[in-house]
Amino acid sequence: MKPSFEGVTQALDKLRLELAGQAVDFGAMELALAEALNNCVEHGAETVDVLEIALVCTLEDHRFCFLIRENSARYQLPTAFASQANSDRSAEETLDGGFGWHLIHSLADQVALRRVKGWNELTLHFGATEKEWKDCRYV
């Protein structure tokens, strides 16, 4: 997948076709994935000469595990979100950014990040139990 915002759209369009007919809330998955992938495109390219992004989807009994693997610099999952900050702000003071991670955490059942041999691996899980989360397979 070409690391650009347009590339993200193309990848998600392809994923939608692949998952057509599955009884899932694709809209929620699409939005969470778009946020995560756009974050890679926007921030990852600043830290490496050639940004590489791989999106892997594992499906089992209508439960989905998405792995986003990319080679940008290490980062930490944010713990504070613009949505929380905006709750006490006026319209003029409202933050116009920082919503992405809040959306990811709101839509995915599980969000995990790890660093493996120079690659960031962000995993988003939808509809899984704790055991299924731990047993999530990668292809």
Partner: protein, 114 residues
């Protein structure tokens, strides 16, 4: 970015004729809206009925537009599809914007922004 505009009851209605408002189109959205809102004298209503998908970049562009217009020219929203409405609800931005179910209600002469 295909955006059309008209004036109804002194309200500037900008209709987004696109399927998506996302990171790939957010900048073009802001650029396309600028000449429309620069001539708006009062309320502006954004008709988002065609938008099937919006991400945080699209939301950020709308918030930036609201701040650009300022308190004298409120920005309201209309015709949100469920997926788009979800983004506003999850981010609590549905408390910042006035959201109407259709343009007719939004441009009713008695309608006022919160």
């Amino acid at each position: 970015m295909n955006i059309t505009s008209e004036t109804i009851n002194d309200v500037t209605v900008a209709t987004l004729n696109e399927r998506r408002l996302d990171a790939a189109l957010a900048v073009r959205f802001k650029d396309a809206m600028r000449p429309i809102v620069d001539t708006a004298e009062g309320r502006v209503v954004l008709d988002m009925g065609s938008i099937e998908f919006m991400d945080s970049s699209g939301l950020g562009a709308i918030v930036a537009l609201m701040k650009y217009l300022g308190p004298e020219r409120p920005l309201d929203l209309a015709c949100l599809q469920p997926a788009v409405d979800r983004v506003f609800r999850l981010t609590r931005m549905d408390g910042v914007f006035t959201i109407y179910r259709d343009v007719g209600v939004a441009t009713d002469a008695t309608a006022k922004s919160a």
